[in-house]
Amino acid sequence: MATLDLITLTQILIAGALTGTLYAPLTLGFNIIYRSSRVVNFAQGELLLIGAYVAYTFTVLVASNLIIGLMLAIIATGLVGPLIERAVLRPLLARPVFAAILVTIGLGISLQGTSQLIWGVTPLAAPVSFPAEPIRIGPIILPSVSVYSALVSTILVSVLLLFYQKTKLGLSMRAAGEDQALAMALGVNVRTVIATAWTISAVSSTVAGVLLSGVFGFVSYYLLFVALRVYVAAIVGGLDSVGGAILGSILIGVGESIGGLLEPSVGPGFRDAFPLLLALIVMMIRPYGLLGTERIERI
C-alpha cells in the first residue's frame, strides 16, 4: 500500500461499516436476552446456526416463494423463544443468574447436536442467494450482501425501537431491564418478558443466519466460528442498549477493515486483532460500553 488515498479510505470505512451490520442482528439478539434477564447467552451461536437451517428448510424445501419462506422461518423460530423459556428458564426465575448461564451452555451443546441430527453434516444451500455482482458507487465496491444487511438491520432496529417505545410489552421489557424485582413488584409479568426476549433473539438470530450464510453461499457448522465476535460487539456498544448493539457491530466491522488495511505493515492476523484492541480502548474509556447505561451502586 503505497499511499493512503481518500478513495481507499472511504471504501474501507463504508465497506467495513456495512460488513459490521452483518453482525448487528446477532448482537441485538444477544443484548436483548442480557437486558431482560442479565443472562449471558452462550447459545447465541447455536441459535444462529439453527436459524439459518430453519430458514433453509422453509425457503428451499417448503415454500417456493422466498418471501413466504422467510416469513414462515421467522414464525417458526419465533416459537422457539417461548419454548425455551417454558422448558428451561422459567424454573430458574429468581434463582442465581449463574444457573441460567449454565443452562445456556447446556442448551448450546444440545442445539448443536439437534442441528446435526435434523439437518445432517453436509453444507446446505444458503436460504437466500444474494447477487454475485457488487454494488458500485464510482470507484467504491460494496458487496451486495452487506448492502442488504444494512437495510435489514436498519429495519430490524427501527421495529424494535418502536416496539420498546410504543407498546405496553415493550415498556414492561424496559422496566424489567432496569430492575427485575422491582418490575415484578409493579405487576410486570417477567415470564412474558423473558419469553419475548428469547423470541426476539431467536428471530433476529435467524435474520443473522440468513445474511451470514449469504456471505459464503452455504449453511454449515462454520457459522459458529463467525458468531464468536458477537460478545465483543455487544460489549463495545453496551450490553443493555439496542442502539449499542448496532454501533458496536459497525465499529467491529470498521475495525476489521482498518486492521485489514494495516495488515501488511503490522503483521498477519491484524485484521482480527485490531477490533479487539479497539474494544479494549473503548472499555478503558467507557467501562459500560459506548451506549450502555452506567449503574450507580448503593450500599
Binding site: 442480557y34 449471558v40 452462550f42 428451561v88 424454573p91 430458574l92 434463582r95 442465581p96 449463574f98 444457573a99 448461564i101 449454565l102 443452562v103 451452555i105 447446556g106 442448551l107 448450546g108 451443546i109 444440545s110 442445539l111 448443536q112 447436536g113 439437534t114 446435526q116 441430527l117 445432517g120 453434516v121 464468536l228 460478545y231 465483543v232 455487544a234 460489549i235 450490553l239 503483521g267 498477519p268 492476523g269 482480527d272 486483532a273 479487539l276 484492541l277 474494544a279 479494549l280 472499555m283 478503558m284 467501562p287 459500560y288 460500553g289 451502586e297 448503593r298 450500599i299
Partner: protein, 355 residues
C-alpha cells in the same frame, strides 16, 4: 460421659482441622486408601480419566477462587492455562528444568499474566470484565501465532516436552500413566488444601466480602482493587499449574489444547459443581468428565443397536443428551451439586425426622 451434642471443639486446633468428626476422619482415611489403590486395581484407561479429572480439579479450583469466591467473571481461563503450559514447556526445553520447577514456573508465569488480565477490573465489572479477559485470550493467541514467536513455541507442529523427571527418577515407559496418576493426585490434593486454607484466611474472607458487596467491602477497609488483582493472580497460578501439568501428561503442547471451548467447559464445571465451594470444583470436574466419557460409551455400546452403521447422525444424539443432562442437573439444583449434597447431609443428620 456427658458429651455435648453437635460438633464440639475443645481447642483451636480441633476447630480448624480439615476433618472434624469421626465420620469425616473415617471418610478421609477410606477415601485416601481408595484413591491410592485405584490405579493399581483398574485398567490404565481409568487412571488416565482420573488424571484428566485431577487436572480439571486444579484448574477449576483456580476459576472457582476467581468467580465463586471473589465474584469476578473470566473468559480467559484457558489462555492462562496456555501461558502456564508454554512457560513450563519453554523452561523445560530451553533451560532444561525438571518437572516440578517447570510447572511451578508455569504457574508463576500464568499468575503474572493473570495480574495483567485482572488490571481492567479496577473500572470494569461483571460481564464487561469477562469480555476484557476474552480479549486478552485472543491477544495471547495472536501472540502465540505471530510469525516471529510461533517457531520458538513449536506452533503448529507441536512442541514436545521432556519426560517427567523427579530428582534422579525419570518417569517413562509402561508405568508412566500409573506414576503420573500419583503426581496429578498429589498436585490436586496440594491445590485443594492450599485453596481451602487460603479461602478461610483473611484473603478468602476479603474475596467473599468483595463478591457480596464491593462498596461494603471497601468501607470495611478492604482494598478492593488490590484484592481483585490478588484473586486474578492466585486463580491464574492454579490455571497455569493445571495447563503445565496437562501438557506434561500429553507430552505435546499445541494451541489447540487451550481453545475458548475449554474455558466454557471450566465455567460449566464450576457452575455445575457449585460456586464458592472447593467441593464444587471437585464434584463438577468429576461429573463433567465422567459424563462426557460415559455418554460416548453409551453411544458406542447401545445407540448403535438401532443402526449398526457408524454415522454422524447417531453421534449427534450424544451432544443432545450431554447438553440435556447438564440442563437437568442445574434445574434440579440451581446452586450446584454441592448444595444438593448439603441437603442430603442435613437429611441424614435429622433422620428419622423430617425437620
Amino acid at each position: 460421659m456427658s458429651a455435648p451434642s453437635g460438633i464440639y471443639s475443645k481447642s483451636y486446633e480441633d476447630e480448624i482441622a480439615i476433618a472434624r468428626t469421626p465420620i469425616e476422619r473415617l471418610a478421609l482415611i477410606i477415601g485416601s486408601i481408595l484413591l491410592l489403590v485405584f490405579p493399581l486395581i483398574t485398567p490404565t484407561y481409568y487412571s488416565v480419566v482420573a488424571i484428566y479429572i485431577f487436572i480439571a480439579i486444579i484448574s477449576s479450583i483456580g476459576l472457582n477462587i476467581l468467580t465463586g469466591f471473589a465474584g469476578q467473571v473470566s473468559l480467559g481461563h484457558s489462555a492462562l492455562m496456555a501461558v502456564g503450559a508454554y512457560a513450563a514447556a519453554v523452561a523445560a526445553r530451553y533451560a532444561g528444568l525438571q518437572f516440578l520447577p517447570a510447572i511451578f514456573i508455569g504457574g508463576l508465569a500464568a499468575a503474572c499474566a493473570g495480574f495483567v488480565f485482572g488490571a481492567p477490573s479496577l473500572r470494569i465489572k461483571g460481564f464487561y470484565l469477562a469480555i476484557s479477559t476474552l480479549l486478552a485470550h485472543y491477544i495471547i493467541f495472536f501472540i502465540i501465532h505471530l510469525p516471529s514467536v510461533a517457531p520458538l513455541l513449536g506452533v503448529p507442529h507441536g512442541f514436545i516436552l521432556p519426560d517427567v523427571a523427579l530428582g534422579p527418577f525419570t518417569i517413562s515407559g509402561t508405568f508412566r500413566n500409573l506414576y503420573f496418576y500419583y503426581i496429578a493426585l498429589g498436585l490436586a490434593v496440594f491445590s485443594i488444601i492450599t485453596a481451602h486454607n487460603l479461602m478461610r484466611s483473611r484473603i478468602g474472607r476479603a474475596f467473599v466480602a468483595i463478591r457480596d458487596n464491593e462498596n461494603a467491602a471497601e468501607v470495611l477497609g478492604i482494598n478492593v482493587y488490590r484484592y481483585k488483582l490478588l484473586a486474578f493472580t492466585i486463580s491464574s497460578f492454579y490455571a497455569g499449574l493445571a495447563g503445565a501439568t496437562y501438557v506434561y501428561f500429553v507430552r505435546v503442547i499445541i494451541p489447540g489444547h487451550f481453545e475458548l471451548r475449554v474455558t466454557i467447559e471450566y465455567i460449566a464445571i464450576i457452575l455445575l459443581g457449585g460456586l464458592g465451594r472447593i467441593w464444587g470444583s471437585i464434584l463438577g470436574s468429576f461429573i463433567i468428565i465422567i459424563l462426557s466419557e460415559g455418554i460416548r460409551y453409551i453411544t458406542v455400546t447401545y445407540l448403535y443397536v438401532i443402526s449398526p452403521e457408524v454415522s454422524a447422525y447417531v453421534e449427534a444424539f450424544k451432544l443432545v443428551i450431554y447438553g440435556a443432562i447438564i440442563i437437568v442437573i442445574i434445574l434440579t439444583e440451581p446452586y450446584g451439586v454441592v448444595a444438593l449434597l448439603r441437603k442430603v447431609k442435613q437429611y441424614f443428620k435429622l433422620w428419622p425426622f423430617r425437620y
